[in-house]
Symmetry: C2
Subunit: 424 residues, 2 copies
Amino acid sequence: MKSFEEMTKEELLKEKESLEQAYRDYQKRGLSLNMARGKPANNQLDLANPMMDALTSESDFSCADGDVRNYGVLAGITEAREFFAEILQCDKDEVILGGSASLTLMYDTISRSYTHGVLGETPWCKQDKLKFLCPVPGYDRHFAITEHFGIEMINIPLTEDGPDMDMVEKYVNNDPAVKGIWCVPKYANPTGVTYSDETVKRFAALKPAAKDFRIFWDNAYCEHHLYPEQDQLLSIMDECKKNHTEDMVYIFASTSKMSMAGSGISAMALSKRNREDVLKQMGIQMISYDKVNQLRHIRFFKNVEGLRNHMKEHAKILKPKFDLLEKVFDEELKGCGAGQWTTPHGGYFITYTTMDGCAKRVIELCKEAGMVMTGAGAPFPYKKDEHDSTIRIAPSLPPIEELEIASHLFVVCVKLATVEKLIG
Amino acid sequence: MKSFEEMTKEELLKEKESLEQAYRDYQKRGLSLNMARGKPANNQLDLANPMMDALTSESDFSCADGDVRNYGVLAGITEAREFFAEILQCDKDEVILGGSASLTLMYDTISRSYTHGVLGETPWCKQDKLKFLCPVPGYDRHFAITEHFGIEMINIPLTEDGPDMDMVEKYVNNDPAVKGIWCVPKYANPTGVTYSDETVKRFAALKPAAKDFRIFWDNAYCEHHLYPEQDQLLSIMDECKKNHTEDMVYIFASTSKMSMAGSGISAMALSKRNREDVLKQMGIQMISYDKVNQLRHIRFFKNVEGLRNHMKEHAKILKPKFDLLEKVFDEELKGCGAGQWTTPHGGYFITYTTMDGCAKRVIELCKEAGMVMTGAGAPFPYKKDEHDSTIRIAPSLPPIEELEIASHLFVVCVKLATVEKLIG
């Protein structure tokens, strides 16, 4: 295939005409497609339906900490803390359980730091300048939290091994206004990158200028593999302990994309000192999160092996969707110079990188043909994609028949935007 | 019965000796009793066990807003908003659902006001002085939140009709530092008082000096009647609308003491302007609270009538416990001058008022005989009970056989502390 850049103006105009014809044909079909958010598909949710039978009116509601139906047990039931400790590669006494969303645990952690400070340091609301490092492209909801609290966000390029650690070290070790960094260390949202051992070790060895600097380690996709051979991520907690820096990290995860997105359970892991400080404050905010749902999860999954078997069933549904997109992109886009795409081993996203200055137009074209994509710029702080080239593709929600249409439509939009750009 | 104050020193010494003998007898029994927290008893929790069968693996998980198993629907499902609208005496479009605790909704509301301000006003963290009015005796967890945020608390005496409204009006209408007031308007914790129509009307007619003043109307016991004839509470939302002051009130409730304390659902009601402002901020903190549990509650209770029938079953368990305490107190304490007690028509508490300077000692005596009571001073800001006379009694948790022992032990402790005080 001849790449667009090698084409003459005449060839490009011809190509454009043919693409516009194809595009109009899609428009006529009155499509309603959605590849915007990392939502599980209905048949993935069905996998967790039997969880609804894990607790019935006849059940024994007692756990290691007593009757889950009553008040109490702020940090969550022991069985669920043990479960998450294994997932998060730490000790059960380093775990606090949350509600149905780890996003809330992250927001609340930032909010507590803002109102009351971190481990006795000055509350962030009383400090002059606050900054967060944001590996990009990244997760829009992370950036929304920091923006909401008026925290200046600094872009850090994400490489194949994780964030550019030279830059991270330079900022963290020298600027006391830098209070945190957002990380999705495994099957990152949206690139699919898993941080290398070297990267994790360098994180654990940071020597922050600010005592209240924290790594927000959002291990959202820790168990979300697409292949039997999984990416391996070092335990940041273990590495930090080797460096006596365990107070520097907060680890987050949830079962949102394991059980049900609307009713999972979440957890955070943190050093014993951090945990004591956080629990003292959480105890003002609540008596406990939903312990019945914690027990329901444990009765259903039984243990982490049970969870991992469950996740293999998810992979059986998800992988064909990723495969389809990769196949269509390979067949129709390879060599045409209209961009690159990632081929992740897990997680929920493919990142498509267009020619500079084309992403917004691609998303606009998709929309006008009835397909919703994640908004342009969303994977960047302040929604600013300097190169206007990053598109997050979420293939999980549509059924495979729809995805087939969606992928071909996407190809037409990408090609058309590229040709338009080259013609100028 | 001769009252203690009428006794001669000699009579008092004799009485003391006999009380000490009775007290030592209790001590020898190695009791383990608890009347500290308003926890439902096991057989109350059992009433909600069938809720576990309301959703099974075979259920239809769709609600008016789609599939509850997936992400989305920040404010909560329509069916549950309608349910709470009826309970909270407002419109469904004024309701936001929360997680398993209304306490968290209250904390988060204060926290948002602190970090981002109320409806565009200066965030509380950037204001010099913050004050809250606290009707006393009141709920310790309310006071813990305001203390946590460094908000100065001002005691407002609670009368039979509700808070002293002359004082409330004086503070609210004149001091711009007064940002809120904590109210439990029905079957108040711990006195059992229900605010009169006049009180509700005067609340709705407040003309706050601070634009960001809010009434925190914690209607925790709205459906928790002990008698068929219920206390009636005017709808504060309706009254506020008559005065165009509906932005001034936040209303809270939960099913914690209706379904299961460890896994209920909560809600807040607020004017459309407030709601829009709150939802915009909540959308940064989460995607939604647990919608499966919202649907489970609706499928179980069906409607508010179903809930009210359910609460009658609760009353059948609770009322004999209140009756027992009242009977024992009537028989053994009436006329002896060792204090007064409330006889509430609903809620979870009896307030016992000792002779000044005796409450701490009573609680200490109880503890040393193996009975945990709510800490002295707990129903007051900063745990300071100036008169050292208020004891919150929570009779719900112990089985009736234990409560029988507990009530007699309490009588001995009250009498002994009173006699000790009189002897000096």
